[in-house]
């Protein structure tokens, strides 16, 4: 269970302070598939980053299975991101001078990659349809292929939580469907909690939970089927 309680996040840009989230509270059940929606600037991505410990809330508390993220030190935050979270970004965010296989293995590079992990990464790339693209660098891959590498990178660590920020934002609808197919498969097969920020409501299912934000506040939290 992910519990977001009275979280406020203020971004300081020089003298100007902008409240991205204001006193937001919501919950994400373990094993749920949740979409966070809302207009641009409503704080969707900020909420995702806070849950992923990429940012620290200005006030409030976020708990992951009863552990308070705000009380984590930097080492614990690194470990949390490395072991429990899989990020999928809108613009893929692959490392340009690494090939597809090494990009999948990125989380494990500092500690050393085992043969098992390399084999697993290779299998994952095969599963997302990139069997012949292991040695290709990002600039040699299409947008859809890059996003599939990013998904393989997120899946390899066998995370308990996938955070996807506009994962189909730069893809055509067919490729977007494929990407959601992988996320759905991971969710259904492994029970991974998935939180997706998107504008595109075409991918919603009745069982999905929807958290709607406006102006940094939660205005609705319900199931698609409600």
């Amino acid at each position: 269970m992910i519990e977001v309680a009275n979280v406020t996040k203020i971004h300081a840009r020089g003298e100007t302070k902008v409240a991205a989230l204001s006193d937001v509270s919501c919950q994400f059940a373990t094993g749920s598939f949740t979409f966070v929606v809302g207009p641009s600037g409503s704080g969707k991505s900020t909420l995702l980053h806070l849950i992923g410990a990429l940012e620290i809330p200005t006030s409030g508390e976020i708990k992951i299975d009863e552990r308070s993220l705000t009380e984590f030190d930097s080492r614990q935050r690194n470990e949390y991101r490395r072991k429990e979270i899989g990020f999928v970004f809108q613009n893929f965010n692959l490392i340009s001078n690494l090939n597809a296989l090494d990009n999948v293995l990125v989380p494990f590079l500092p500690k050393g990659v085992t043969t098992g992990q390399r084999q697993q990464a290779s299998d994952l790339l095969d599963q997302v349809g990139l069997a012949k693209r292991h040695e290709h660098r990002p600039h040699q891959l299409s947008g859809g292929e890059q996003q599939r590498v990013a998904i393989a990178r997120a899946i390899l660590k066998n995370p308990t939580l996938i955070l996807a920020d506009e994962p189909t934002g730069e893809l055509d609808s067919k490729t977007g469907q494929e990407v959601f197919g992988y996320l759905r498969k991971l969710h259904s097969e492994k029970g991974t909690t998935v939180i997706v920020v998107t504008h595109d409501e075409r991918y919603f299912l009745d069982t999905d939970r929807i958290v709607r934000l406006e102006d940094g506040r939660v205005v609705d939290s319900s199931s698609k089927g409600d």
Partner: protein, 438 residues
């Protein structure tokens, strides 16, 4: 591309560093090898930097010979040659080296005799003749062979032997009988430049023998060497030859060094801390002694001090080059980090710690420094070899393994230092701040 340019900048800086320090090392190497070949003691006028500027009574030879522990005493007259075959000898310098042939033949170790490559060495029959022995370098320059005649100071001499020590400080000598040298240069027949002597008993310490000789001549009247008189002699050495210039600089330095000591021996004594300096100041500090005995160690200590001064000068020059190289690395790494800051944010988002990111950047800059060091020493070493082979009689540069190793370590350290600031900058940046830059 930026990394390549930075690598190039570092390579040039390190190559320059190797080149500059190889000048000092080359001088050290040459001087050390030179004095290895001349193990005896040299009796000279106090304060004179080298035998060329020294003058002693010839009659003291017998008295020196009588001192217990002295073996062979060889009187020498050293004069600069101004003309050979009517042409001015400016660069490289040529010295007429008059030697007493009879005692020369008694020396256990003769650097010129042992490096003869053509013709013959002197015999007693060469006394009073104009027979000369020259270096291979001089023979090549004058294009002469054994049996040829040529003019020195407008007087005809005959070549009977060619030596080749391959040492630029020694290969400048035209050897001739001492009396012939005096006649040709109108040198005072009652004087010599110096006495070179070998010990009769190798168990006697150089310092002990030196003190015995100095004591023997205590309170004898003799005009002290005047530093100003060297100015005219040195002016003849001005040239475009690098080695000559360095040697001239060395002579000037020795002149100023000895001049200071002659002027204020008590200060030198007070300041001297090392055994070498103390030993030297003892011999010079004998105010009433009209001679100075130079041992191999004395020469070595003086050259070392000169070399240290030269090294200081070269260090300043190298420092300027290295500062530019380090700034270049910092700039490169800063630009490189700026361009990849999003990637570092992604790495952090995937669980890399700030330390992991810092290690990565530090490793990259160290690799840049190491690569620059390797390329730099390779370029520097090749340059010294090319220069030495192109001007063998004028330049002797030497890049020792220690210098090459130091250069690589130094370059790697500079690389790490240059990458440190960009690494800290990237390390401190929160992951989302970095990722948002995309």
């Amino acid at each position: 591309m930026r990394s390549l340019l930075s690598l190039l900048g570092l390579t040039v800086a390190i190559a320059g560093m190797v080149g500059l320090f190889s000048v000092a090392e080359g001088l050290d190497y040459t001087v050390n090898r030179t004095f290895e070949q001349i193990p005896g003691l040299t009796v000279m006028q106090p304060g004179a930097p080298v035998p060329l500027f020294s003058k002693l009574p010839a009659s003291w030879e017998k008295e020196i010979q009588e001192i217990d522990g002295v073996g062979v005493v060889n009187a020498q007259v050293v004069q600069r040659i101004s003309q050979i075959n009517g042409k001015a000898m400016i660069s490289p310098p040529r010295l007429l080296f008059g030697t007493e042939i009879s005692t020369r033949l008694e020396l256990k170790k003769d650097v010129y005799g042992s490096h003869l490559v053509a013709g013959r060495f002197f015999t007693r029959n060469d006394r009073g003749t104009n027979h000369v022995i020259v270096s291979q370098q001089i023979a090549d320059q004058l294009q002469i062979t054994i049996g040829d005649t040529f003019d020195i100071e407008n007087q005809e001499v005959e070549l009977i032997g060619i030596y080749n020590t391959k040492l630029s400080l020694l290969d400048v000598a035209v050897m001739i009988d001492i009396d012939s040298a005096r006649r040709m240069t109108r040198y005072d027949v009652t004087s010599v430049s110096c006495f070179y002597l070998e010990k009769s008993d190798e168990t006697i310490a150089d310092e002990e023998l030196s003190q015995r000789i100095t004591a023997r001549f205590q309170n004898r009247p003799l005009e002290k060497w005047n530093p100003s008189q060297s100015a005219s002699e040195l002016s003849g050495f001005e040239s475009h030859s690098f080695t000559t210039n360095v040697v001239t600089m060395l002579f000037r330095w020795l002149s100023s060094f000895t001049a200071r000591q002659v002027a204020a021996p008590t200060n030198i004594e007070a300041k001297s801390q090392s055994p070498q300096k103390t030993k030297r100041s003892n011999s010079l500090g004998e105010k009433s002694s009209p001679i100075e005995v130079r041992t191999t160690d004395d020469w070595g200590a003086r050259i070392d001090e000169f070399s240290q001064d030269l090294n200081l000068f070269l260090t300043v020059l190298t420092g300027i080059g290295m500062t530019i190289a380090v700034l270049s690395i910092v700039n490169t790494m800063l630009m490189s980090v700026s361009e990849r800051i999003v990637e570092f944010g992604v790495l952090k988002a995937n669980g890399w710690s700030a330390g992991d990111v810092m290690k990565l950047i530090a490793f990259e800059s160290a690799l840049l420094g190491f690569s620059g060091g390797i390329c730099g020493i390779a370029l520097g070493w090749i340059a010294t070899q090319v220069i030495n082979s192109q001007w063998p009689d004028r330049l002797q540069l030497f890049a020792s393994p220690e210098l090459l190793l130091f250069s690589v370590v130094f370059s790697t350290s500079m690389g790490i230092l240059g990458g440190l600031y960009p690494a800290i900058w990237a390390m401190r940046m929160p992951p989302m701040v970095a990722i948002r830059r995309s």
